[in-house]
Symmetry: C2
DNA sequence: CGATTTGTTGATCGTCATCAACACCAGTGG
DNA sequence: CCACTGGTGTTGATGACGATCAACAAATCG
């Protein structure tokens, strides 16, 4: 079980949690693991939040729907991330969660989540940090859909997905998981499936990007980033280690510059 | 000075802060008040966060720009709201802030902000609650731009701006501040200024909505909401009073259902 | 003089309809 | 038991056509 969700949380948690705490945390994840088939709703808009959800493997999509069925994917939750903090904040959820493909997610109930947070004080601040980055990503998606054209949008999303998994390559490119169908890619970018298809083909022509077997191949990241006008600052990579110290300013200490 | 920013914060703070604390808070806002002219940048993407900013009067726009100048307004900060919590979270801001029109904002430096938060423990949780709602609004803007067409987008934004100021009218309509030019309205909705103009005209024809003298007149809110497919749940109105209790789950207690 | 309004033209992207490739499954027969 | 078959559903790939909205230019309002 370890490994799948260690991408984001694991490295940090190793520093923040004692071995004993870490065991409690991992046991909790394992005990509450649950599988969902592709497309199945995990939570629906309007429900009372029921659990703290951590993605263990696969991707979660946050989405919203208009009354007539038009659907927008709002965000993608990758392994190791919490879906949201709704359990501790809102009375009713304002968006839905669904499985992008078959996935495993830990669903930790209210009592257990509260106990966990008491045992691992840094955990709360780490969760908050995740929310901060999620909000920053949501802003980038807003300008993505609002200002970029089709090819820029798709390229930008590819860059983001890659960077969130692998970081920014110093040179050259690489490959990473990419679990979206072209249809879902369309729902995420505010385009139609047909147009996404044309766009992906153009990206293939212009910079040899490939989408095969649920993997994304980017031969030259800089080239793709250039098409997308991609600027990774909104991902706040490599700030996570500092986040806990800094958040202390909100809840007691004075914070750091 | 009181009154302008009491819309959102004031009512709640009255319950949460003792009179003495309240005086400290108000004095701090007044002491740090600063004016900006229309369009002037308050903070720029890439800077280190320098202050906790509370809007006192006027509106702040969060925005991002692409290298070629295309610009997207990401969010609007109304009087009584904090612009962001960047001071306590990120190393460098990932978006810019500017004045929609002449405005007054309190800019509280790091030391003083930390002191304030120590003196008023509930303040931090209230600020966090604001961030949660802001994130929910950002999600709605994503689907707004991604899925709705021009008239729906503009109608939706009007509904939101109205509801954030006045709440949802049980029946009929009303009026509220609306400080955006059509150009800014375009930047917020991902349309062009020209198309916004035509769209506003159509809304005028279809449901007598008027935009005059920085005021928005909505004769029949339900009619406009119908065009927009507006669903206010994402604003989490009337949950603010509960937010502080609920957030306790993150930082100590067990939280409430 | 900024903000709004109007007109014209055309590119981008959506709609509709179809088809190919492929996996998955059940059943059939060797 | 395995190979072959056909049915079905999903995903990706096309083409023709049209609507929405952007781009550009200019007039008018306040």
């Amino acid at each position: 079980m370890t490994g799948a969700y260690s991408v984001t949380f694991g490295r940090i948690l190793n520093r923040l949690l004692s071995p004993a705490e870490r065991m409690v945390w991992e046991a909790s994840l394992a005990r509450n693991a649950r599988d969902y088939a592709k497309g199945i709703d995990i939570a629906r808009e309007g429900e009372r939040p029921a659990a703290l959800r951590i993605v263990l493997s696969g991707w979660v999509q946050k989405y919203k729907q208009l009354p007539d069925g038009r659907r927008q994917i709002l965000a993608l939750v990758l392994p190791g991330q919490a879906c949201d903090l709704d359990l501790f904040t809102v009375a009713r959820t304002d968006h839905s969660l669904a499985a992008v493909r078959r996935l495993t997610v830990a669903e930790i109930g209210r009592q257990e989540a509260a106990a966990l947070l008491r045992q691992c004080p840094n955990l709360a601040q780490l969760l908050c940090w995740g929310e901060i980055v999620t909000a920053a990503i949501q802003r980038e998606w807003t300008i993505n859909i609002g200002q970029r054209n089709a090819i820029e949008r798709v390229a930008q999303l590819m860059c983001e997905i890659f960077a969130r998994q692998q970081g920014i390559p110093a040179a050259g490119g690489g490959e990473c998981d990419f679990l979206l169908t072209q249809w879902q890619l369309a729902e995420a970018t505010g385009l139609t499936q047909v147009h996404v298809n044309r766009t992906v083909q153009e990206l293939r022509r212009r910079c040899s990007v490939e989408l095969r077997n649920l993997r994304l191949f980017i031969p030259d990241f800089a080239e793709l980033a250039d098409i997308a006008a991609f600027n990774a600052n909104y991902l706040h990579l490599d700030e996570t280690e500092l986040a806990v110290d800094r958040a202390a300013g909100l809840f007691g200490g004075i914070g750091r510059d």
